[in-house]
Symmetry: C2
Subunit: 417 residues, 2 copies
Amino acid sequence: MSMEAVDLGRRARAASQQLARASAAARGAALVEVAALLRDPARQREILAANQADLAEATPGATAAFLDRLRLDDGRLSQMATAVAEVARLPDPIGEVVSTWRRPNGLRVCRVRIPLGVVLVIYESRPNVTTDAGALCIRSGNAVILRGGREAHRTNLALGALVAEGLRRAGLPEDAALLCPTTDRAFLRDLLQQHEYIDLCIPRGGEGLIRFVVENARVPVIKHYRGNCHIYVQESADLEMALDICYNAKVQRPGVCNAVETILIDKNVAPRFLPLLHARLSSAGVELRGDERARALVPDLTPATEEDFRTEYLDLICAVGIVDGLEEAVAHIEKYGSNHTEAIITRDLREAERFVSTVHSSTVLVNASTRFADGGELGLGAEIGISTSRLHAYGPMGAEQLTTTKFVVYGDGQTRT
Amino acid sequence: MSMEAVDLGRRARAASQQLARASAAARGAALVEVAALLRDPARQREILAANQADLAEATPGATAAFLDRLRLDDGRLSQMATAVAEVARLPDPIGEVVSTWRRPNGLRVCRVRIPLGVVLVIYESRPNVTTDAGALCIRSGNAVILRGGREAHRTNLALGALVAEGLRRAGLPEDAALLCPTTDRAFLRDLLQQHEYIDLCIPRGGEGLIRFVVENARVPVIKHYRGNCHIYVQESADLEMALDICYNAKVQRPGVCNAVETILIDKNVAPRFLPLLHARLSSAGVELRGDERARALVPDLTPATEEDFRTEYLDLICAVGIVDGLEEAVAHIEKYGSNHTEAIITRDLREAERFVSTVHSSTVLVNASTRFADGGELGLGAEIGISTSRLHAYGPMGAEQLTTTKFVVYGDGQTRT
């Protein structure tokens, strides 16, 4: 066990206690300072120099997409500043009386919102997560330990120093946002043992990283492995709307977890809809892979295997299946889905309600693109992650999902009989 | 891996999906049936016969207190029926729209309450947990796997059959409440691996059982190890009230987790209060163990060691310490406490608020007995357990804490730009 990992946890725990007792105004002020520092030309030069060094080291062997995720420039720093400033304007959740009631004996019971404590955020190449996750944790009164990807380490250290300075300027402990000094897996493994000091770990990234975290953690983990999202085009769907939504959900950004991966079409509308869908998606270079019934209607579809329906393509590929109705669609989603996001396109109110009440994925949409399954788009202000398991939080998580409640009880001498 | 354990998990999962889709009325009707069965004389005879067999086997070597916890009689069965009937009358939490808002693009976002899925409840000798926990899980739309103590196994099997019959009479799947066929630790260990089928495990009992569960579980666990509860008697306290509350918190039922274990007294009121407290608690046979400052005031107190302040006595023993003020009291609680329950006795509004905002135990009381840290007493209707860690639930847990929320989003063709 690395003493450095233990020490990091201990420092974060101490800072979390100070941060929880600080005022909402101080937490907000720290974020305003971080946003200002991200816009400071001298600081920008430091960060971009660190980023250049990371890029230079990563370039041999890295894909263009990878380097694009890693790269910072003036525009991206400005977007990061804007994102932090938006979190600074979010309502501070701490101290909120979530509910209150009086007991027959006169006791007044309150549930009061408090921070979780210390949150460990693990991520890969995107350096903006450093400031995004840092901001959400500070807003919600949590200390955060940030562990980014190896290739972005210099950039993340520079961004971490800037967040620490924002905290210091607002009179808050710098240790409330700690960057891991190393990206070693062994160090991460040690950190994942610190259940005395760390209240929650949120890993974001590829399935390999997430499985490593789950298998090695003794701290609670909230995560999702995959986003195998479905759209069900019901018989009564407005077909133009269905085409627009399917196109948006597949094409607008195919590499993300809320992109659609399988489209299920009601058999009564499939003869009209599938050729239109094929034409529309083909125009964007999407390869459609159909089950037997789909290929009976449009023979030049690639045949879809069982495996296709389990796959999160994250690419311009989409599986398509024909179903007899809502029940078969729901059964398909239950069998192959990942509890992430599913949508129905319908004009039938009753079918919409049946879908919504029988599909228990974390986000269920009616007549809207799966791409809205995102904390910012749903109005949470920003997103620290998405949970596809039910404990504590289910679906996109914002600042409020980084809190819990304690009971506060006011009496006047009551004793129990 | 025992295939029987896997099969138990799979059956519970299947039943949970049916239970979640059943109506609130059906879930309530099942509980009304269970309460009626508990009052049926023929059924009572069966259960009491099973209980007699358990008692006969346990008697050699068991303490009187243990046998008392294990024993059922007509009166206790009637209390169990009443408890189930009360849970039947609780509002059904499933389907509640917890919050809803509209986005600028017209999307209507709802957070809708859903069950967790499958809950594994592990407990020791008290057979009433079988019907209490079963009722709370059914009320909240969860399937439950019940694993009671070895000594109560025949009794629990009889009670489990009765709960299953209540479910069947209401047209719900019997598998929604499953009793473990065996109390073997190996079987329990296998069950604790079934993270595909079990969403939450709640162990209740001694620290040894709970540590076994935590160390062997691959399913999420919510628990508390100890209840090392404190009362801080602040300088301005109404001393009569303080005496009544300390007496109640220590003496009314010393063997439970919300009994007080340490009383901290402000130095300015200690010379008056400590002799009164000593007299009052001695009258009930309580042994007070004092720190040096306390023994300087009342020399015949037993000396308290560092270890005393860490101890959950669960007995007629109480540690007492003198502190310089609220800050020292809070620091003591932070050092020795277990995040369970703490109370302040004061007439000073500002001190009350300082205590409430700086002590982050799961239940914090002002001028009331620690014994109120209980789901029933706080108005949750009943209690499935108490959590002293912050994720998902913190403090006493009722039916609502056995649920989560999903996002339901209604649109009119929105796509993301």
